[in-house]
């Protein structure tokens, strides 16, 4: 009995010690929305011999997946910087990884980039040190998700629109509107899919923006409480229609192939993969326009290998590498010169790389903040953390 008591005393003591340790370690103030001051790199020096990268799958290929797909080996030979890559599977995971300070560079989507900038986790980029920056499409530079007050925080990598996929042999007539996935009386009930992330709330908001002008939605990532509730209500109507939400793109492609999914949001790369397996599937950008992503290479504010990091950022958007990545991943390249170097000469046309008007109604993923991103000053918008809660609640209800 005495031993038992001693043991529980040790346990309690260690628990208290842990509480104290964790409380004293961080005295950060809650909710600071001021931009942290982070120094920009002034000039480039010699490489450090390595660079640590957080990237989407398929962005950093050294030939181990497919011997023909390799833009890392050349970079390593040329610069002497060994590339260590950590693949992130969601924007949220990438943010968490960058907060550790262990990594130098990240390929951040728009729903991660602002969080990184305001968290002080990434540094402004001196674009003069990235010669290939000059060739990047103008409509990708200095956007809301990769810059603050005209200061660039990253190098645009590539972009894509979230499309409406449908099985041409099953869905008849062919859909033209996102209404097809929100129609409570849809004949394809149980075979519709949606993207499994809080960011999908923006897809509902975009549909409402075009179909219910009374709500006054101007930008799907700037929703006040009333607009946000309307979007979530629409997703609740949609839920009974959904067979599976998708997060893993390979599972999604398999589902399109088997016919478990016949209609729903997708990426161009998934359409290509399914078509190459003989599936009768087509992807369209519906009349309402679409959400999409535009990825940005950003450098950590705590980068231990900043010189190699800059060399990487320059190399990955070079016409050759940019073309190779875009083709491998299935997205529109950001470098205008990449279009001449793709192995499929129609690639840039298929992906609308240079077609500025195609992107006018594509709303790239962005991080919702309390200060409305559409410039409204009279209301508070619903921040992304609330999107996360609402999505979690919707998915578990």
């Amino acid at each position: 009995m005495r031993k038992k008591r001693l043991f529980s005393q040790i346990a309690v003591a260690s628990a208290i010690a842990l509480v104290l340790a964790s409380c004293s370690s961080s005295d950060k103030k809650a909710s600071e929305t001021t931009l942290p001051k982070v120094e920009m790199m002034k000039s480039l020096g010699a490489g450090e011999g390595q660079v640590n990268i957080v990237a989407w799958a398929g962005y950093v290929e050294n030939g181990s997946n497919d011997p023909k797909v390799d833009w890392v080996t050349g970079f390593e030979k040329e610069t002497g910087c060994k590339v260590n890559v950590k693949v992130g599977s969601t924007s949220d995971e990438m943010v968490a990884l960058m907060k550790t300070g262990e990594y130098d560079v990240v390929s951040a989507s728009g729903d991660a980039s602002l969080r990184l900038i305001y968290g002080g986790d990434v540094a402004p980029v001196n674009t003069a040190l990235v010669p290939n920056y000059a060739d990047i499409f103008a409509d990708l530079k200095n956007q809301q998700w990769n810059s603050v007050d005209g200061v660039a925080y990253g190098i645009p990598h590539g972009r894509g629109a979230n499309l409406l996929a449908y099985r041409t042999d099953i869905v008849n007539p062919a859909p033209t509107s996102w209404g097809a996935v929100f129609d409570a009386n849809s004949p394809y009930k149980g075979r519709i899919t949606a993207y499994d992330s809080p960011i999908y709330i923006a897809d509902a908001a975009l549909y409402l923006m075009k179909t219910q002008p009374d709500l006054g939605i101007k930008y799907p990532y700037a929703l006040d409480q009333k607009q946000f509730d309307a979007a979530v209500a629409l997703l609740k109507v949609q839920k009974p229609l959904i067979g599976e939400y998708w997060g893993d793109y390979l599972k999604h492609v398999a589902s399109l192939k088997s016919g478990g999914t016949v209609l729903g949001t997708t990426w161009q790369v998934n359409i290509n993969l399914a078509q190459s397996e003989g599936v009768k599937v087509e992807g369209i950008k519906p009349v309402e326009g679409s959400t999409g992503w535009s990825d940005t290479w950003m450098i950590s504010s705590k980068a231990k290998n900043p010189n190699c990091a800059y060399k990487w950022m320059n190399s990955i958007v070079s016409p050759e590498s940019n073309a190779a990545v875009a083709e491998w991943f299935g997205e529109a390249p950001s470098n205008a010169k990449a279009c001449d170097l793709t192995s499929d000469k129609n690639f840039c046309t298929t992906y609308h790389a240079a077609e500025a008007t195609y992107w006018n109604d594509v709303y790239y993923w962005n991080t919702a903040t309390e200060a409305c991103l559409d410039g409204r000053k009279d209301v508070k918008c619903v921040p992304y953390s609330e999107w996360v809660k609402a999505w979690s609640s919707l998915r578990n209800a």
């Binding site: 260690s14 842990l18 409380c23 996360v388 578990n396």
Partner: protein, 286 residues
């Protein structure tokens, strides 16, 4: 040199005891209880609503969110229901199977049967669940293809699919303890029961079941706790259904304190479960 250390140690029994217990105690307190403690503490923190940084400020907001949102009550009940069904199904299949292995099969075959029960554990969890995915796929899956003509349809992806998948995965963990329990049960007891006029079912209910109850409880702890914490099966064959593990997975990188709050639920459920088990006295006779 060696002998002098040994001599020094021999004279100091307390030091020997400390040296012996230091590593396991450190593991238990730091790695095991420490992790649980950190989890509990984090549950009371909050995050910066914009950058997602954890803010170490004591508040009960996470628990309030969890308790007031009916979605989380539903997911707890759903997960409990799944874990209980899986445990019941595993027990229903495992008892006759283990009985056959321990009492009916020839001794030579017993070893082979035990090996066969263990073989599924050699294959990766993911491979097995993806196999079930292609079995259960509506319209094009194996079940609809083979059994469709006689009118049996796959339940599709969802709750029933999760129960089937988890029961399949954890069945060996139920069979083995029951088999071990039955092996220790003397055959003479069964003979005596028969000689005294008890039928097979009566013997099972009044003789076998009480004696293997501790084994059944041991098996149920595996099947119940493993089901309670699972999220991968739900991701692959659960359709749009989510279990508690999925909520944690969904939140841990975005809102770590909230994920920690949710993670305290299975800990609490398991504590209650073990307390109930203790009250039945099954643990003492294991």
């Amino acid at each position: 040199m060696k002998s002098s250390v040994a001599r020094w140690m021999y004279k100091r029994p307390k030091f020997r005891l400390v040296a012996l217990l230091a590593a396991p105690t450190l593991w238990l307190v730091v790695a095991y209880l420490g992790a649980l403690g950190a989890l509990l503490v984090t549950a009371f923190f909050t995050i910066d609503s914009f950058t997602g940084d954890v803010v170490a400020q004591f508040n009960l907001g996470n628990f309030q969110d969890m308790l007031t949102d009916p979605a989380y009550r539903n997911v707890v009940l759903r997960t409990l229901g799944i874990a209980l069904s899986v445990t019941l199904i595993c027990a229903t299949f495992a008892i006759p199977m283990a009985f056959f292995m321990a009492k009916i099969a020839k001794p030579r075959n017993q070893k082979i049967l035990v090996a066969l029960v263990l073989t599924p554990l050699w294959a990766s969890y993911l491979v097995k669940i993806y196999a079930w995915r292609s079995m259960l796929e509506p319209r094009t899956g194996v079940i609809d293809w083979v059994l469709g003509p006689i009118g049996i349809r796959s339940p599709g992806f969802g709750g029933p699919a999760i129960v089937i998948g988890l029961s399949y995965l954890w069945l060996p963990y139920m069979i083995l303890p029951i088999y071990a329990g039955l092996e220790r049960l003397p055959n003479s007891l069964l003979d005596a029961s028969g000689d005294l006029g008890a039928g097979n079912f009566y013997t099972f209910r009044r003789v076998i079941l009480p004696l293997i109850f501790p084994s059944l409880v041991a098996g149920s702890m595996f099947t119940f706790s493993l089901s309670l914490g699972d999220y991968i099966t739900a991701q692959i064959i659960g359709g749009k259904l989510q279990m508690l593990g999925n909520v944690v997975y969904q939140n841990f990188s975005i809102n770590l304190p909230f994920a920690a709050t949710i993670a305290t639920i299975p800990v609490a459920i398991m504590a209650i479960y073990l307390w109930l088990v203790r009250r039945t006295g099954a643990l003492a006779s294991l």
